[in-house]
């Protein structure tokens, strides 16, 4: 059967030129055109944005909480990826 209510969309707004789009919230719309219009009316009424992305919520895939230990913890001890891990004498100046 055809769904009567409109599907859910996630809205991402670029707040000003040069910044990334950031998740603002969700809304319902029958299609992408209206999702964009609605996103403009719902999430940028106070000049919050200069560009909008919308994506139907069902297309978003995410990590699971139960995986989070194996996904994210292993990076905690890889401190050699951070600049402060390396000792450079002050005389060298800013690097």
């Amino acid at each position: 059967m055809e769904r009567k209510d409109w599907p859910l969309w996630e809205v991402f707004v670029r707040s000003k030129a040069g910044l990334s789009h950031k998740h603002s919230g969700s809304l319902h719309a029958p299609d992408a055109e209206m999702a964009i219009s609605n996103a403009r009316d719902v999430y940028t009424r106070r000049n919050e944005g200069v560009s909008i992305w919308v994506v139907e919520s069902k297309h978003i895939h995410s990590t699971l909480e139960t995986d989070s230990e194996s996904m994210f913890d292993p990076n905690e001890d890889k401190i050699y990826r951070h600049p402060t891990f390396y000792d450079i004498p002050d005389e060298v100046g800013h690097m």
Partner: protein, 315 residues
């Protein structure tokens, strides 16, 4: 992972102020509690559009008209943010709305009171939004992530609501005798229902203790109510209006106001459906739902056709 392990992780998060997110494990009772609260809050925002909406076409100046319209528009947005937050727990908006229409879900009883005069628009902004803000500031720290984020966004938008309401009353109180009387009458009718917005006393509130333990709520009903009273009295004084409570007086020792008795019988009666506008409010929501059905269907049908056409063009 066993249920007990998951429960331990959950408990530790609550203890350490780590937000619970939609895909995280959570006890069933927590899920139900948060969902009920978010849905109820969403319904309140949307039903709350109706009493104020009653005055849009009669607003007395262009400036007031656009401010009121923008304010009510925000409330629609708040309803939308909160429905979206509720939907993260797997119940979609349509189902939530049907719960409301079928009488299975509640909304704040304050919106069952009528907006009878222009001063009521001022009183609603000042007192009803004022009380809501006290509650919502607390809820910014709620333990459920999507609810907290919705609250942060909402609180940012709320600040103009209370100010526009207060400014309406201030103008009336600086106006003619008739205008000032209109303002006093609005305060007389909205004061007690506004205090009721915080719900029954914690000792009589079925969900209060558990909600506090889960940090869904961060303050009890009685403390929130007291906070609201303490901050509102001097605002009423500034307007030169009298709060309709003969027992209201400053308690130096406690550093807060003592005040009278809420008529809880009225409170429970309105919840049960015996308020001045309960029927009208639900009927209006039902009509919007019914009259919009063919429109929503048409938009879906058109979206499907357009998608098919695009697929064909691409092929």
């Amino acid at each position: 992972m066993s249920e007990t392990d998951l429960q331990t992780i959950f408990d530790r998060k609550i203890e350490n102020e780590v937000k619970i997110e939609p895909k995280d494990w959570m006890p069933d009772a927590y899920r139900k509690n948060v969902l009920r609260q978010m849905a109820q809050h969403a319904h309140s925002e949307v039903v709350g559009m109706l009493p104020e909406g009653n005055w849009i076409t009669r607003a007395p100046s262009m400036r007031r008209k656009v401010a009121l319209l923008a304010k009510i528009q925000d409330e629609a947005g708040h309803g939308l943010y909160l429905y979206s937050a509720a939907e993260t727990l797997g119940t979609d908006r349509e189902r939530l709305v049907l719960d409301l229409l079928e009488g299975k879900a509640k909304y704040s009883s304050i919106f069952n009171y009528p907006a009878l005069t222009w001063a009521d628009i001022g009183a609603v902004g000042w007192l009803v939004d004022g009380a809501a803000i006290v509650n919502q500031i607390m809820l910014q720290k709620t333990s459920y992530g999507p609810y907290s984020r919705a609250m942060i966004r909402i609180c940012k938008e709320e600040s103009f609501h209370q100010r526009q309401g207060y400014e309406i009353l201030l103008t009336l109180c600086r106006g003619t005798e008739e205008q000032k009387a209109m303002a006093q009458d609005a305060l007389n009718r909205f004061w007690w229902p506004s205090l009721m917005m915080f719900g029954p006393s914690d000792k009589d509130s079925p969900h209060s203790a558990q909600s506090m333990a889960w940090k869904v709520k961060r303050m009890g009903n009685d403390d929130l109510r007291q906070k609201f009273i303490d901050q509102t009295v001097k605002q009423a004084d500034f307007l030169g209006l009298t709060i309709p409570d003969p027992d209201l007086k400053w308690n130096e020792e406690k550093g807060q106001y003592d005040w009278g008795q809420i008529d809880w019988e009225e409170f429970y009666n309105v919840i049960k459906g015996n308020g001045p506008c309960n029927k009208e409010r639900l009927a209006a929501r039902q009509a919007a739902y019914d009259n919009g059905a063919w429109v929503r269907e048409a938009a879906t049908a058109y979206a499907n056709k357009r998608a098919q056409r695009r697929d064909k063009d691409a092929a």
